[in-house]
Symmetry: D2
Subunit: 345 residues, 4 copies
């Protein structure tokens, strides 16, 4: 909490023609707030730097003053997740499997839980292909869809994966379900794109001791995403993995645009691992191989993939889902790519 | 649940050069799913209409088939909230105050609860200006902000407003807080833009009997917004008010772009009332009067405004907040406007 | 051209942990560029202000230096079009008709020129409704459309309008057509949204003495738009009218989102008039009345509308086009609105 | 031109509750336009397919009719550039260098021409690194920048490159400059992102016999981009190379988002080669290697890069520019990547 005491700053840009009284009123409010100013006058433009403690620095309280053109924070607000606090990248371990190291991880499994058998067949296929982690996404049921049986589905997932010693990832959307996740010992928890800024949920998973895969909201800026991670980290849980999931743009030839630039930026801004979910980003299985390769080439530490024993019969998201054979072929193609990048798979 | 039985459809567009076997495979899957097809062959392009029951109609299960170019739903998925079910607009009453009728409602109050005194001063000012409804928005506290005392804040709000018989609106973000909202008899519940697709929360407020103000997510399409409302309505609560709140675009000269076109589209697509929150949309109090006028001219049934007894001392969102005097002047300017549009204020 | 000599500035924010040598290298480059620095050191963060002449201030030359986090311009780059140079708004006159004054102007006419008869019927209808200005938009012909006969179309437009003494607006997209516009004495020239950043075209219309209606590119920021206007103004032609035309967003329920916030921002940033084209923004005639009202309520000085003698037979853009009767009814509804806002129509 | 005669279609979706008379009026207009209809009636929804000749098929003429909900084209409008006309990809040769084949091409050179010496040094460096093609981008001079000397710059570029037998690419923005491009025998012409929909320019380059690199507008959809290429191809010049250049989104952590999904989609939709310009997309040289790798992994046939003999002294775009050493190191890293993908560099 004392993290922001020193050196934090905003810059207040006065309007052209702001007068002395307006400048003084700003300086007065800075002092009144227990902060210090740093004045820089120009022939046309006066700029005022503000130095001090974060808590007292809400920019909008200065932006409202007469003669102020705009107020910009210059200090970054995320701290624990910032690479400046951990110049070397962080590796997160899940039962001995490293995420964020030289080995790239493929986490695969069904988009939605349908039955115990579907889960078993999925786990069997993953084990055969030598995948090391299994996932099951939540399904966002439309108003008239069949009700979810989440607790039962968690049991299916866990049982199927345990037969092959695969740690699992499942999506938590309702804070009241956290107990069930703990009971079933779900190894990693995914926060979906719709909950990236659900502060109540972020706070809860900040208090537990399991790795969190934090998906990017479809219109979240990278700074908002880093701040969401900071909201988890502030509770004590620093085991956070970012997962790029596509962003919403004007283009409608595919669901979302996979933002590979975000991978490069995160690798600079945070020490935490970065994964990518190409299935959900594009919504089309035929695009998944190209996007997976692009994500890995851009530096991703892992990939989340929708895989179903029989995609043509998947209840949801069939057309973004790979078959086990598709997955095996994709992985075969990824191995030389990973090697060319100095990594393994 | 039987609503979708008849006449619902998708259109399957085959690729150029799709062959007979591919077309037959699609038709076979349509039959297999208990649906009917309607085939239209052209020299270059074959189109297949699909007729039947919604539950079996997940488009992605057809999109995955070889030779299929794309699959589009043609039937709309929202039903209860659709204007086609209520050609005349619906009016929602809160303690005798009509929302969605000829009278335009201004709902004003602080962005965030700070103290009992702040709430009292706010309510006093609103009563003086003859506002009929009071609001208090939730604050989305950043990781290191002071913890919220939501229950206490609800009590402040309710007590302050009750002194002037003002019904109140407050934002619910955590499903575990719903009890407190019921206990304090908060008259209307706001679902914030970050929770527009929080299905667990939508389901809960679908079971109670209070009007819900459903804010649009900053990157939600109008169809997604209508579907979110349908998710509430499906639970039995049809008292839903849409609230346009600005959408996120490439422009960064202001926070979000107030989408007045959405007002016109909603007025056609749904029978439910439509409100607008210009304060939060633009983030600048100097823009609020122009946007308020634009919203009313475009057909909005009401306006949500951030008002604080002393904006320069507001703890949050100071620069988007009006003073009571600003509000009084704004309302004076709105009265002739409302009259020119055949409405009252 | 000496406008930017004094007081222009950038702010260079150093990275956390930037060392002395890096700071000195930045300062050295500032001096080397003939500029001055203003250093502000904090415990964690050093900020360097740069003072001097615009020409030498390309931010990217500093952003590339080691230890630099980012470089922001703080001075605005538009000058002639800035309201700071003309605190009172500018009124532009076209044959005695004022744009930017108390009177709101409606400029109506066909989306595309089809025939002399179509133009005559359009002009007759406008005269009957007491419109004071006539327009004809260019049509952006798709690859296989009938070739445009632009010169002929200009003659039709001018002849039809002259019969009723209506000054005209036409769109110029090819710089080689400028002569024809001058020959036919087209009173105002429209630069379309696709050419907002066509610098060659902007320079040419900067050298003539006719009012220019500068449409906003569908993804242009307001600052880029102001800079495009500055590019015209720099050539000597200061008779520029901004025309908001809708921006491209993720929403696809209508063509573009009419950005009413832009009207409010332009009114603050520039002294020049602001118009709005709701027809082309939304692409649907049934939405035009609501958007026209919103634009006027937000402060627009005029409206461009697509009107055709018989919209159902219009060759292009039929569904965004009003009939003369639609227009007459719309105008009747706008008169009380304008009056309520203290303006006339 | 007879390409669209057969089988082209739209689908007209009627509103819920559209009556017989409305359906008949639509059918009547279809007949009147010399087209045929295909009627599909459902209990709730009637859909009308339209079959016939493209020229008579402007969807908006049907969208305007009473009872019509929407009109969608189902046939694609691009033909020459469509992969369906050339199932195998097309390779474009420039002086024996293949673009679109197994070999990936790196086209490098300065963002803007500064001097003959700068061009010579650039060409010398490229030759040393074994680059096979040289480029120079246009600079979009802001209003008060030094005037461009384009003709002189073309001579510098051509002279510098000729010393090493490097074919060159330069950007054409003003149609009046085409003669100069022909005179100097500029081997490839780039159409910049701001001119992607400048139809006059597209038509002119459609008439010459040089490869065109067509950059994507920052907010152009893929369909619009394909149509822009079709506009060139319709004139007879089929030597078109697409160049993804980043799209504008809400994110402002970098200039534009490099859309790697577009590469995959273009590879399916068109037979023409696809290149990527990561420098201009992201605007930061430190991100260029990651984005270059991602683009190649996603299937790009080539990369355009900003390279300057001394980036720190580049007059424009310094911070997105690589030094010759940076380029040599990047290429060394790309070689194993290309090999892993079954290509060469």
């Amino acid at each position: 909490m004392g993290l922001y005491i020193k050196g934090n700053r905003m810059i207040i840009v006065m309007k052209y023609g702001a007068d002395e009284a307006q400048i003084e009123a700003v300086v007065h409010k800075i002092h009144q707030s227990g902060l210090k100013e740093h004045l820089s006058r120009g022939a046309e433009l006066t700029i005022i730097g503000v130095i001090g403690d974060e808590e007292r620095l809400d920019p909008s309280r200065f932006a409202i003053l007469p003669g102020v053109d705009r107020v910009n924070r210059v200090a970054k607000q995320y701290k624990i997740v910032s690479r400046s606090t951990h110049p070397h990248g962080t590796t997160i371990k899940v039962r001995g499997i490293e995420i964020g190291g030289a080995q790239i991880q493929i986490i695969a499994g069904p988009y939605a839980a349908e039955s115990a058998q579907q889960m078993d067949l999925s786990a069997d296929a993953l084990a055969l292909i030598s995948c090391r982690l299994m996932r099951c996404g939540a399904f966002h049921s439309p108003p008239y869809a069949v009700p979810r049986k989440e607790r039962e589905a968690l049991a299916w997932l866990k049982h199927a994966a345990a037969r092959h010693q695969l740690p699992v990832v499942a999506e938590l959307s309702d804070v009241r379900m956290l107990d069930a996740f703990m009971e079933h010992d779900i190894e990693m928890i995914q926060i979906g794109e719709r909950n990236m800024q659900n502060l109540d949920l972020l706070r809860e998973v900040g208090r537990i001791n399991k790795p969190i895969i934090l998906k990017r909201g479809v219109s979240a800026t990278i700074v908002e995403w880093l701040m969401a991670a900071e909201s988890i980290a502030a509770g004590g849980n620093h085991n956070i993995i970012f997962c790029e999931h596509g962003i919403r743009t004007f283009e409608n030839a595919y669901r979302n645009v996979l933002d590979v630039s975000a991978i490069a930026v995160l690798k600079q801004e945070t020490h935490l691992p970065v994964m990518v979910d190409p299935s959900d980003a594009c919504g089309k299985s035929w695009m998944v191989p190209a996007l997976t390769k692009a994500a890995i080439a851009a530096g991703a530490d892992g990939i989340l993939l929708d895989v179903h024993p029989n995609p043509a019969e998947a209840l949801y998201a069939a057309d973004q889902t790979l078959s086990p054979l598709d997955l095996a072929q994709l992985i075969a193609g990824l191995q030389p790519l990973a090697a060319a990048l100095g990594r393994s798979l």
